[in-house]
Symmetry: C2
Subunit: 341 residues, 2 copies
Amino acid sequence: MPELRKDPITRRWVIIATERAARPTDFLSRHVNDQTDPERCPFCPGREEQTPPEIFALRAGGSAPNGPGWRVRVVSNKYPALRIEGDTARSDIGIFTRMDGVGAHEVIVETPEHDTHLALLPEDHIADVIRACYQRYEDLDRDERFEYLLLFRNHGRVAGASLSHPHSQLIALPMVPKRTSEEIDAAERYFLKAGNCVYCEMIAQESSNGERIVYANERFVAVCHYAGRFPFETWILPRQHMASFGQIAAEDVPALANILKTVLLKLHLCLENPPYNFIVHTAPYELPNSPAYHWHIEIMPQLTTTAGFEWGSGFHINPMAPEDAARYLRETVVVAPATAG
Amino acid sequence: MPELRKDPITRRWVIIATERAARPTDFLSRHVNDQTDPERCPFCPGREEQTPPEIFALRAGGSAPNGPGWRVRVVSNKYPALRIEGDTARSDIGIFTRMDGVGAHEVIVETPEHDTHLALLPEDHIADVIRACYQRYEDLDRDERFEYLLLFRNHGRVAGASLSHPHSQLIALPMVPKRTSEEIDAAERYFLKAGNCVYCEMIAQESSNGERIVYANERFVAVCHYAGRFPFETWILPRQHMASFGQIAAEDVPALANILKTVLLKLHLCLENPPYNFIVHTAPYELPNSPAYHWHIEIMPQLTTTAGFEWGSGFHINPMAPEDAARYLRETVVVAPATAG
């Protein structure tokens, strides 16, 4: 059983998931090939039995679960960081706190096509991926044990993707992650002081200034964050105040697909298919209507390697001014490569 | 001039250091060779003119600055993230805050020998490296503009080291990094509640339990942290309460060299020369005698690649139980390889 442990100093929770590696030698081969062999890929159609059973799928009419015919398919992670069974009682061991590693860890297989990228899929397909994520967000909200849904995507080996077949992941957690709590506390402090959402203010200021705007459509805006930690770090925010990803309306989905595709494709073309992570920052399940917090996506290309130092100190060195990054991305003309299908 | 920018939400400062890279293509070649060619290494003796002038050195009697004859040598970073000239006035741009990128960024070249590691140096040489760091800590404390000294070491390319010649780095900052402030705030809250230093409590609890202890000598203890974020994450703490690295006494230095060598050598042998970072967590310059905070070194082997997600969420997945890591390290017999010199 995985275990959740709390740092008594920083109050940061960590998952101790020992089923993934047991001996020092398991860590020696870091240089895994970026590309999974399509002949053995467990996410390709026809190999559905190699994954845990399907939790949700968007399928052609009449196709049966756990066989081909799907457009988007959600399964449990075969090597989950957390387990769905168990309760969430905490216990103290002196100054330390622990609980069982209860949570959901799912994989959203974004397309049956092995050799493509999310950025290269048609917008209506990306909209289906978003709909699948929304369905999982809503479904896991019904489990009383979960306080937070962490929705994220790793692209490329150096960004942590172990399989190259396009996929996103979600982790439902029995607590709010420290980084999210910090953001919410800060947003609430700002709201108390200024009477407005700090993200709404940022959108207004950035839209009026314009130099860090990457792209915008009628419902969303993409901006290289003023104090971005990573070169080309880009945030996508809804223009209208909305605390939670779970608040998106059906009409928002095509606009979100449009901006997500546009930004990822600009990064893909400008930086030659960079490794990246993106994380959906959303309100905890119990605060869906917070007037202070504003959900958004943070896209972090992984182009520099100063990892550990910056992890440890919380102090980042970004070698690319966000204004310059935004200009490069604005100037990148989005023409989908022929493989876009 | 580099620039310091503050995130209006998380209050995290970021260095925007654009002199290091100017165009998207500068980021395309991530796969630099791990080993610097010794024929071109600017840290090797005889090439002292290739670095900025010497700030401090431990030298054989009679040898002149900026030439051979040194044991440990400190120079400014040739590509500094921050600049020593300038003032630290802050200015606001709407919701954003900025200041000039003022600070010191220095390199501690640990040995004239190119093909070795800190873990393989004799203890008396490591003691000299510590003395050089202490001299820089004290000297930079005299600059009124600096509030914090960040002392760290990157080993191996994936941990951010661009040159393989053994070296550490320091950055003197005009503010306290967010992670440090969080630690201090948490330690002070604990002190107010429990009347004791949380790190002292942790040392007592871990010493009495023993299962996460890696090594200890009369003055220091090394422990795999209960809620460690990284496999084999190991902390070195002084047994006696001491808030600041600047408080170490001359008699502490050989004991610190002993435990640092022992732990790094155990990691080197157990994990076959893993990439790692270590960071000295110390009190801000203005709080050298805090009863709540306790300086220590956090050593983070970089064995997993889930970087970006964990950066973004603050949520870490550690696939190795700290008890098991400590056991492996205790069982690793420290015999210095023949190259130890």
